[in-house]
C-alpha cells in the first residue's frame, strides 16, 4: 500500500501544484496581505514545504514549528476564516490539476489536523 504522498505523485506533484496554489493564494484578497512582506522566492519554497506537509510527505516540522512559523501572523489577526480560505485553495488547486476526490479529501484532513497549531490555540 503506497502512502498518500506517493499516490499523489511525490515531489513532482508538489512542484506541479505550487504555482497553481500560490497563484490562487496571492489572488485572494482575504489572505494575500499575509504574504505581502515576504520575499517571493523564499515564500515559494515555503509553499512547497506547506504542500509537502499537506500531502503527507517527508518533513521534520513539529507542531511547535508550525506555531512558531505562524505566530507573527496570528498577532496580525490570522484566524479560522483565513485557514478555511487556504484549505479552499488547496482543494481547488488539486481539483484544477485533476487529482481524484478521495485523495483530495485525505489532503484536506491532513492540513486540517494542523489547525490548532497554526492558529496557536
Amino acid at each position: 500500500m503506497s502512502t498518500l504522498f506517493e499516490q499523489l505523485g511525490g515531489t513532482g506533484a508538489v512542484d506541479a501544484a505550487v504555482d497553481v496554489f500560490y497563484r490562487r493564494v496571492l489572488s485572494d484578497e482575504r489572505i494575500a496581505s499575509f504574504f505581502d512582506s515576504v520575499d517571493m522566492e523564499r515564500q515559494a519554497a515555503k509553499q512547497k514545504a506547506f504542500l509537502t506537509m499537506a500531502f503527507g510527505g517527508p518533513n521534520s516540522y513539529t507542531g511547535l514549528d508550525m506555531r512558531k512559523a505562524h505566530a507573527h501572523l496570528v498577532k496580525r489577526g490570522l484566524g479560522d476564516v483565513h485557514f478555511d480560505a487556504v484549505l479552499e485553495h488547496l482543494g481547488g488547486s488539486l481539483r484544477e490539476l485533476g487529482v481524484a476526490e478521495n485523495l483530495i479529501s485525505q489532503v484536506i484532513t491532513t492540513a486540517e489536523s494542523t489547525r490548532s497549531d497554526v492558529l496557536d490555540r
Binding site: D19, P58, N59
Partner: protein
C-alpha cells in the same frame, strides 16, 4: 573505505554513515540555516566548490542555481569528497583598475574596470565594489565576458550616497578598485532559444538587463525578447539610442521605454512600468522574466508577472536594496 569528507571554509569534516552534508556541518557546530530538512524549503542551500554532486541534491532548483553548483545540503549524501561554501561566498576578491569612466546621462556613470585576473561571471550578475577604505556596495555587470575585456557597471548618483558620490566625483581612470563576486541569479541560461523573454526594470536596473540582452543575442536566442525600461522622465532612458539600434538589427528584440512624467510628445508613453510591461507582452505563461532595479517596483512586477502566468522558477529578480534599508 573511509567515509568521504566535507570541506567548509578550509576545514575537512568526516561524514558519518548516511549523514547528510547539512547534518555533518551542524554536528560540527557550523551554523547553516535550514528548516524543513526534506529538500523542499531551500533554506539550506549551499554551493559546491569542487567535487561531484549527487543528482537528488539538486531536485527542484532553478536553472541559474544548477549552473552555479548550488545544492540542498539536507538532501546531499555524496559518494565522494566535496568542498562547499555558503551561497555566493565562492567569489574571490579580484584586484582591478579603472579602465574608463564617463557619464551616460546627467546621473548615471559608466564604469569599466579591468581585472588582470578576471573572475568568471555571467552578464547580469552583480559584484561588490570595494572602496580602498573598505566601503562595499553591489553593482550589476552590463558587460559580456566573452566580448569585453573589462567589467562594466552603471552607477546611479544617489544624493548623499557614499559610494555613488565617490564613484561620480573622485574615481578616475587608472585608480585601483577591487571587486568581489560574482553573485546573483539574474543571467541568461542557454538551452531554450525560442522561449519568450521579458526584461523589465527602472533606472540602473537597466545595467543587468542590458547585459542579459546582449548575452541572449550573442548566444543566438531567436524567441521574442521584450525590454521595458522605466524612468521618471525621458532623460533617464540612458541607453535609448543604443537600444533602438539593437532593435533595428535584431528583429526578435523589442525595446519599450516608458516614463512617469512626460507628455507623450517624444513618442515615449507615460505609464507605470508595472502596468506598461505587461501590456506590452500579454499573458506570461511560458515566459522567462528578469526584473531589476528599485526594490518596490521589482517586488510589484514579480507578483504581477507571476499572476500573469509566469512560473515562479522562471522569474529572476534583483532588487537593488540599499544597505541603509536592510
Amino acid at each position: 573505505m573511509p567515509m568521504p569528507t566535507v570541506t567548509f571554509e578550509g576545514k575537512g569534516y568526516v561524514r558519518q554513515e548516511n549523514e547528510t552534508v547539512l547534518d555533518c556541518l551542524l554536528r560540527n557546530g557550523i551554523d547553516v540555516s535550514y528548516s524543513c530538512k526534506s529538500g523542499v524549503c531551500q533554506s539550506c542551500l549551499l554551493q559546491a566548490v569542487s567535487g561531484e554532486l549527487p543528482k537528488n541534491a539538486q531536485i527542484g532548483l532553478r536553472d541559474t542555481h544548477l549552473a552555479r553548483q548550488y545544492f540542498l545540503s539536507c538532501s546531499c549524501l555524496p559518494n565522494n569528497d566535496l568542498e562547499v561554501c555558503r551561497p555566493d561566498a565562492a567569489g574571490l576578491r579580484a584586484p582591478g583598475v579603472v579602465r574608463r569612466i564617463d557619464l551616460l546621462n546627467a546621473s548615471v556613470a559608466r564604469l569599466r574596470v579591468h581585472c588582470p585576473e578576471p573572475p568568471a561571471y555571467r552578464a547580469g550578475q552583480f559584484f561588490s565594489l570595494i572602496r580602498p577604505d573598505g566601503l562595499v556596495r553591489s553593482y550589476s555587470a552590463a558587460s559580456l565576458p566573452s566580448d569585453d575585456d573589462f567589467i562594466e557597471f552603471h552607477v546611479a548618483l544617489v544624493p548623499g550616497g557614499r559610494m555613488s558620490e565617490w564613484v561620480h566625483r573622485d574615481l578616475k581612470r587608472g585608480d585601483a578598485l577591487d571587486l568581489q563576486g560574482p553573485a546573483g541569479n539574474c543571467f541568461y541560461v542557454p538551452g531554450n532559444p525560442g522561449q519568450p523573454i521579458l526584461l523589465a526594470g527602472t533606472g540602473t536596473g537597466l545595467a543587468p538587463l542590458y547585459g542579459i540582452l546582449r548575452d541572449a543575442l550573442a548566444k543566438g536566442h531567436s524567441g521574442p525578447i521584450h525590454l521595458c525600461h522605466g524612468s521618471v522622465n525621458s532623460g533617464g532612458l540612458y541607453l535609448d539610442a543604443e537600444l533602438r539600434r539593437m532593435m533595428e538589427a535584431n528583429p526578435q528584440f523589442h525595446y519599450s521605454p516608458c516614463v512617469l512624467n512626460g507628455n507623450g510628445d517624444d513618442g515615449i508613453p507615460q505609464a507605470n512600468i508595472d502596468a506598461y510591461a505587461l501590456s506590452c507582452t500579454g499573458p506570461l505563461k511560458g515566459w522567462k522574466v528578469y526584473l531589476c532595479g528599485h526594490p518596490d517596483i521589482v517586488r510589484t512586477l514579480q507578483r504581477k508577472a507571476f499572476l500573469a502566468g509566469a512560473n515562479l522558477q522562471s522569474i529572476y529578480a534583483d532588487a537593488f536594496v540599499s544597505s541603509a534599508d536592510s
